[in-house]
Amino acid sequence: MIGQKNMRQLALAMVLYSAGGALATEPDAVTTRKRLLSAASESSNWLHHHGTYNAHHFSTLSEINRFNVGELKVAWTFAIGGTEGGGIHPSAGLEATPLVEDGFMYAIDGWGVVTKLDVREGRGEFVWRMDPGTDKDWAGEVACCGVNNRGVALWDKLVLSHTLDGRLVATAKDSGENVWERQIGAPERGETITVAPLIVKDMAITGVSGGEFGIRGWLEATDLNSGERRWRRYTIAAPDEPGGDTWVDDHEAYKTGGGGTWVTGSYDGELDLIYWGVGNPGPDWDRHYRPGDNLFSNSTIAVDPDTGEIKFHFQYTPNDPFDYDGVNEHVLVDTLYKNQAQKMMLHADRNGFLYALNRVDGSFIYATPYVKRINWTSGIDPVTGRPLDYDPEAKIQNYAGVASARGKLKSDLICPGLMGGKNWMPMAYNPERGMLYIPVNESCNSTTTSPVDDDSKSIPREWFTAGGMHNPERFSGSLVAIDVSQGKMTMRIDTKYPILSGVLATAGDLVFTATPDGDVVAYDAENLKELWRFPTGSGLNAPMITYAVEEKQYIAISVGLGGTMPKWWIEAVPGLENVNPSAMIFTFSL
């Protein structure tokens, strides 16, 4: 157990810059529970990582619209720094979604350095920088997929942020001084933290990364008044816990069962439920080591915020052979489906299917493919929501027979590949159109299993994947539109690379996204016709936001190369080796 007592030995490397005189007279914004619940009505702000608790990534701002977006230009830029490397990564990535509250922007780099900017005067004016002094090699050695931090959260007068080396840090909005911090993740066990915190009531919810390092995943709630743990919920069930009977081995595989929680969840304030996605079981490619459905890996869990109890769940890919993390976000939508009002949660799973589930009880509504190629199953059962090739009697799932055999034999080509049809990059929902826009990876790979002996255990801080994978084909991408009340894809456009940014939808009938080789792009929400493009000259691996100052609308994005593909699989994404890291904020306006 790691508590607040386990504070860092070294003093925090914190640099405090005093604000200019004019700024110091402005009152501090207070992020109340009410504001967070009604964030959609504050169209000039972006108060949550996902924009709102329902993760629509949609703004009602419409000054920028499909008729004038061709005139969009750079408004201002700001270098936030922080591209140095650590561990196995020669440079840090930039995947963060900035937040904006009442004219102040909060950006964060891969190492967790928070920068506050005053954006009220049509430019980014530096206010303060908070450097939490992340132990770069300690964390960077066990970060599978880059030095990344996906964003901060706001509560009351605090900015909450994580560090890759496993801490939750609370910083005062006005001064940039650390108020408290606590060690939650355990890098000595291969745990790191990249996720943006979710604020629910007076708690920050933290998720963990490390599914490739033999962790046992969890969600943890921290009381924001005291800075102490409120609850921890393990996502991999122990034998005496609900779901424990889905780990039927005799060597305690659950203890290294994976189940990371590294994408920020959603929250329904009326139902008082947190929805969070759980990652792949470990070891990734030796499912024979972990017979059983492996709950709650590859599942959506609905969690009681006050106790952390899992009220219900839905599992997408049981006894996973493919590394199809179930972590992707949940877009909460109230809509009609087959003439019935439904409280849905939409989840574009790594396994290539978009799922609509009932968020009141977790029951299945529909699933539809959103990628071009799926070969691991012939479809999803329209009643149960299980893969059609799932065998309820079997403890080891072979699905449609493409999974690797045990023992260093290369499998057939598996589609989608392990990056999934969609990875962590968020999709966007336009409630006025009832359309969901998904950033898609079109990729396949084969896998090779190197079995784990039943007697051997995972070594802390060593990879525990039991094998590797091979990319015989290039990856590409697409942007897909789904009519949610029909449950059908209506549009798809192809892109050269997988889309590694998120999607932003606006009431200006626009859909914004970005390419890994540096272009920010605006599409017509009605027909996905490209309307505007700007080359930033660096990688784009972060979702964009929109905000306003005195009714002038801005689009903002963190600009910098990040993610896994250029490091491990350059043969699948040739050309990205020519994209360099950077750490800038770019904003655009008319």
Partner: protein
Amino acid sequence: MIAQQKRLPVRTRIIISLCVVLVSSTIHAEPNARLGKSIYKKANCVGCHKWHGGGGGSYGGLALSLRVTPLSREALILVVRCGRPGTNMPYHVRQIYKGADRECYGSNSASLGDATPPRARYFLRDRDIEAVVDYVRNNIQGRGAPNYGDCVAFWGEEATRCKHMAQSKLNGERKRK
């Protein structure tokens, strides 16, 4: 009369020549060791083969253990230059599978097809390849399980990982007593 220069005895001249070679190779060895370790990190050898060279699984694939491999210096240079067909070990010399001279295992991409190794993210110069191979041979190859000394040599004495390793060993010894 022009004075005649005395020539040094042959044996002395040989000894002096050998000393010059020894000194100059020592001068070159120091920057090459640093270069080798730097290449090991930047070229992502550390990603797949790990800091200790023991290999295993990762998102790069299943990597060979450089600690136990019996490959000679020449063979290691060849593998870094050309990758290994049918595996994820990439080639590090631009266009090496396109040439007509088939210097890689007598093959080119036409003859290997899908078994052609993937390309590395960054291509390396001959000097870089020799430096990283020498780094592996001098610091990794033929050693047993990675120990505290290996950790310090790679990460530095102040590294949390090495302090953690030392503490774990201490705890293990305390438990055994």
